[in-house]
């Protein structure tokens, strides 16, 4: 019967073989090693099947060099890059800044504040596809709710929100902010609640109240969390498909696509899956540095929130 060591030791000199064996085994003794392997194997199998394989397959699909000149020459792609940058820059920053302010608001005591918080998180809790479709209909120029209200109250014909690139993209960004602000507010609220009371009390005694307290005490303590939230939100938003697809549909005339929706369009509407993967892969130069910075921040050893 082949023992575990024989798996790793073929073709190696005996001294080196033992070193490798010791490295793999660590401090585990007897059957501990077998148990450790038994616990790791399912995780490794799942990881290889559902993480490594799709990523490698995606990279392989998007690795054909000829795809990128074709992609970059597409005028829709050029617009898409601009839209993606705007979507990220405005969507992430406005959302997180609002979340930061609102998390302070929800720190106030009282049962009614808890009730308000419950209502406030509803947009995040309800299914996103149905809400985005509702927003699409609400913004319809002819019979949408918004323009009907404008006409009924002010006798004003509202604009056709989804007929113009900038108002349509604006609608997408606002929808995203509306949908996800509650989630990030809760995260930052948890962060604020984790600030020890004695720090806040001491600061208050020293006169750091209101804005001064926020600038000199709360924000510095929340800064690391805020940055991590920003990085995470940017990564999530890069892959966001639903808001664009269901609110503007990438229209009018394909002017409001972001990389995620363009990838789907290329892959399935034009039936060129490799070109679709290439569109999404073109975000990698942005994603990889974001992930590296995020990992470094998460490994920060200092006591920070």
């Amino acid at each position: 019967m082949m023992d575990t060591a024989s798996v790793v030791d073929f073709g190696r000199p005996a001294g080196r073989r033992h070193a490798v064996w010791r490295f793999l085994r660590g401090n585990l003794k007897g059957t501990e090693y077998t148990w450790a392997v038994a616990f790791v194997v399912p995780y490794a199998a799942v990881f290889l099947t559902f993480v490594a394989y799709p990523v490698v397959y995606g990279v392989w699909m998007g690795s054909e060099r000829g795809l990128y000149p074709e992609l970059f020459a597409d005028p829709i792609y050029q617009n898409t890059v601009v839209n993606t940058v705007l979507y990220l820059a405005i969507g992430v920053n406005v959302k997180l800044f609002l979340a930061l302010l609102l998390s302070g608001f929800f720190m106030r005591p009282g049962w009614w504040m808890k009730a308000l918080l419950l209502i406030f998180v509803l947009p995040w809790a309800v299914p996103q596809i149905s809400t985005f479709i509702s927003i699409h209909w609400m913004l319809n120029g002819e019979w949408g709710f918004l323009n009907n209200v404008l006409y009924t109250l002010f006798h004003v014909e509202g604009p056709h929100w989804l007929n113009d690139r900038w108002t349509a993209l604006g609608a997408v960004i606002v929808s995203h902010i509306w949908k996800w602000t509650p989630f990030w507010t809760l995260i930052l609220l948890a962060g604020r609640m984790a600030i020890p009371l004695d720090i806040r009390d001491t600061a208050r005694v020293d006169g750091a109240t209101g804005l001064r307290g926020f600038v000199y005490i709360t924000f510095p303590l929340l800064a690391n969390l805020y940055l991590i939230c920003t990085l995470l939100s940017t990564i999530f938003l890069l892959g966001d498909f639903n808001a664009v697809y269901f609110v503007s549909g990438g229209g009018p005339a394909n002017t409001t696509h972001v990389l995620a929706t363009l990838g789907i369009r290329n892959a399935f509407d034009i039936a060129q899956p490799r070109l679709g993967v290439a569109a999404v892969m073109s975000a990698l130069p942005l994603v990889i540095p974001l992930v590296i910075v995020l990992m470094r921040k998460l490994r920060t050893a200092e006591v920070q929130l």
Binding site: G141, E142, N163, I270
Partner: protein, 452 residues
């Protein structure tokens, strides 16, 4: 005894000419979900009837339209395929025939060759870029054209009559501008005459533009040999006229402003909401969708065409309708080609395939002219079916252009024809300029698909 057995076997063969009972075996099939439930019910019935007759099993998956398209593309890309699939979208036949991904099904089609329309037979073929030949890769199952759907009640509200609809192209569509003008005079703030899909989403805008291109004399834009003819002055003039009419109607306020961002379902919804008097939209889904819930709309308020088939061109000649054929396909790598072929042979028997479209409420057309004469299609009490079948099966028809050259499928998917309409409509670009730009893009796309 032996003689008796042979007689019994012969009798069975006559009763089910394409069903040979072999050892029971299973084939998988993917099909798009119908617009109305009846379409799915009839498909399940056909599968059940076949299973009963053959002893084989068909594992049928009915999948909504958009995911189905994605599933097919993913399956072919990864080579994990079912035994039978439906051409969804239809040009998938030509797309993957180019890459030699389909099994030749000429032996299946041959069993009913005499029954199929010429258009259906042409659309079942495609060019294979590996063998450098055209071959039959599709089994025609059903067809669709792009009819005109009209709110008769709105026309009458405008003090006009559907019976007065002109029979030539421009005059026919201009009629609805007059309907809108009259309705506006009555204070109708949000009713538009024409439901043109001046958008870059889905298949509707392509179908609309091509209908106008053909009506204006541009039918030779791609010929049967797969050659592109953008230098033909007739084609160019037709494209300019189509962009000018469709974009101009939007610019002049006769098309709902939201049409610039419609998807394939939006015009149906807008029509049902009486946002416009008429819509040019593929299949009878517009009518079939409301038949059960609003029979009074179906029978009394909405008419299809209002004239027999399409109006004539501006010179008074009939305009051929572009027919899209749904084909049954067997991908290479299918595990059970024998049963797949046998099932398709069963499916295309006139009785079965006729039932398939009729029990589906007539949203789709049959692919065999003999079936158009059935009482279902010729029902004098139905204000839609007779005109629809006249347009798509009995009148002049032609297959879509991607059948002759796959490049046209990419032109359609990239919405290249939409841009002249949109640029004229929204930005007031001169039709000649917008068409020149589109032609340049079309030439680029065609250069990617050289044919021997």
């Amino acid at each position: 005894m032996l003689r008796g057995s042979l007689a019994l076997a012969a009798a069975k063969t006559v009763a089910f000419p394409h069903v040979v009972k072999a050892a029971a075996t299973t084939a998988t099939m993917w099909f798009s979900q119908g617009f109305v439930q009846d379409e799915d019910v009839v498909l399940r019935k056909i599968v059940a009837d076949y299973e009963k007759a053959s002893g084989n099993k068909i594992e049928l998956s009915i999948i909504p339209f958009a995911p189905h398209r994605q599933k097919i593309i993913s399956a072919i890309t990864s080579d994990v395929v079912p035994d039978i699939m439906q051409s969804e979208p239809n040009e998938i036949l030509q797309l993957y025939a180019w890459q030699d991904k389909w099994v030749d099904v000429s032996d299946v089609v041959e069993t009913q060759r005499a029954q199929f329309s010429e258009t259906a037979l042409t659309a079942s073929q495609a060019y294979n870029n590996v063998t450098k030949k055209r071959a039959t890769y599709g089994v025609p199952l059903r067809a669709a054209v792009v009819p005109c759907h009209i709110w008769k009640s709105l026309v009458e509200k405008a003090a006009m009559k559907v019976e007065d609809l002109p029979k030539t192209w421009d005059a026919y569509f201009d009629f609805f501008k007059k309907v809108q003008d009259n309705l506006r005079k009555q204070g109708e703030r949000k009713v538009y005459g024409l439901g043109f899909q001046v958008t870059a989403s889905g298949v509707d805008p392509y179908n609309l533009f091509m209908a106008f291109l053909v009506a204006y004399g541009g039918q030779d834009v791609v010929t049967k040999d797969g050659k592109l003819h953008l230098n033909d002055p007739k084609v160019k003039q037709a494209a300019i006229k189509a962009a000018a009419y469709l974009g101009g109607a939007y610019r002049d306020g006769y098309v709902p402003p939201s049409a610039i961002n419609w998807n394939d379902a939006d015009d149906n919804n807008a029509f049902h909401a009486k946002l416009m008097v008429m819509d040019v939209d593929g299949t009878l889904s517009t009518e079939v969708a409301i038949k059960e819930k609003h029979p009074e709309w179906y029978f009394n308020e909405i008419v299809t065409h209002g004239v027999p088939g399409y109006p004539n061109d501006n010179a008074g000649n009939p305009v051929p309708s572009i027919v899209n054929i749904t084909n049954g396909l067997i991908p290479k790598g299918a595990k059970n080609v024998t049963v797949a072929k046998e099932f398709l042979k069963y499916f295309i028997q006139p009785k079965v395939i006729g039932e398939f479209v009729e029990l589906g409420l007539g949203r789709w057309l049959p692919v065999m002219p003999s079936l158009a004469k059935s009482p279902f299609w010729q029902n004098p009490k139905d204000p839609h079916l007779k005109g629809y079948v006249q347009q798509g099966l009995l009148g002049p028809t032609r297959p879509d252009y991607y059948v002759f050259n796959l490049a046209m499928a990419e032109v359609r998917a990239q919405h290249v024809w939409s841009m002249p309409m949109i640029e004229v409509a929204r930005e007031g670009v001169k039709p000649e300029v917008a068409v020149d730009k589109a032609f340049k893009r079309i030439e680029e796309i065609f250069s990617k698909y050289p044919m021997a």
